[in-house]
Symmetry: C2
Subunit: 199 residues, 2 copies
């Protein structure tokens, strides 16, 4: 089967999601956005659910590429770059509409096993990536070797999730929260400074 | 106007929200849940929006009472009790259904100024409460006086928000996240231990 129309449909799903949100999104909306007939969407995806699962897979691939290739020579720089990637405002990252739609998707997760399974993949990917960066940093002596890297990774994953939720729900500047995360790393994880500046 | 029916309606709104979620909730659902006619709901609240605003006010009062009266003699105990209140699983706290509905409400906030204004009140109340506990703890010498209490309060508010989102979205144990938060406080904020156990 031709990949091109599928990619077009997934891109149209992204735009339709930004425009209409998740709850009321229909295959017809996506067809309209893709300038295709509903039948031609059905030719590739039987149900809205099947299409949306494919869409989340597509997002996941992009997400993995993003978090795997964060820039930086050192663990400290990589962590900073990861936070910037996930929390920056501006043109380079998905805007409020998309973040809002994804929060809606999260709120549907308890009622949709397939969606929840995908969201768990996103969550685990981020958690694993942070764990790896921390473990590297401890090994090179950049981070304090007494940090419990699994616990810190869990905490940072939770804080990133919270920053994104607050960004949508209470219109909080995610950039400010990004700076807060970086300060946490600088204050608590860096060997020399931890004892001197204990927050 | 009699307060009793209004309270009944607000309680029915809570139950209907748990059962149906926010997006598709109608005044008719609430009327059915309250065992009242739709007309009698309209007698008290003109629109779904007006009812929902009153419902959020009602929740806010309960939330304030909850976070203002956390138990504990010391700041450290109060912070722990606050986390337990907001993150514990079990019968004493609202279940997954309600948390899920509230996440849905958060995802609607950018499209509804009134709802967002209320959510900002919840957020600010929590932030303020944590700031106060931290300031008290610094004053009594319980917390390290070098902590930037406004920044730490922002971080903890963000992490609590993230714990609740992850609890819904990826079915993460919020109790485990609660313990993680307590460990953060014990490791980073307590004067004597900070230098010795720098995470």
């Amino acid at each position: 089967m031709d990949e091109e129309p599928r990619t077009e449909i997934l891109n149209a799903t992204y735009r339709a999601l930004c425009e209409r949100g998740y709850a009321d999104l229909t295959l017809q909306d996506i067809a309209t956005e893709a300038e295709r007939s509903k039948a031609s969407i059905h030719y590739h995806y039987d149900t809205k659910e099947e299409l949306f699962t494919a869409f989340l897979d597509h997002l996941y691939d992009r997400y993995m590429a993003q978090i795997e290739t964060v820039s930086g020579e050192t663990a400290r720089e990589q962590l900073r770059s990861l936070f910037d990637t996930l929390l920056a405002d501006g043109d380079a990252v998905p805007g409020t509409e998309f973040r809002t739609a994804m929060l809606e998707v999260k709120a549907q997760a308890p009622y949709n096993e397939g969606v929840q399974a995908k969201l768990i993949q996103f969550d685990e990917a981020l958690l694993g990536r942070i764990q790896d960066i921390l473990a590297d940093g401890i090994e090179t002596g950049e981070f304090d070797d007494s940090i419990e890297h699994e616990l810190v990774a869990e905490f940072l994953t939770t804080a990133i999730t919270g920053a994104r939720t607050r960004g949508v729900a209470v219109d909080c500047s995610v950039e400010r929260l990004d700076e807060m995360m970086i300060e946490y790393v600088e204050t608590h994880l860096i060997g020399e400074t931890t004892a001197e500046v204990p927050y």
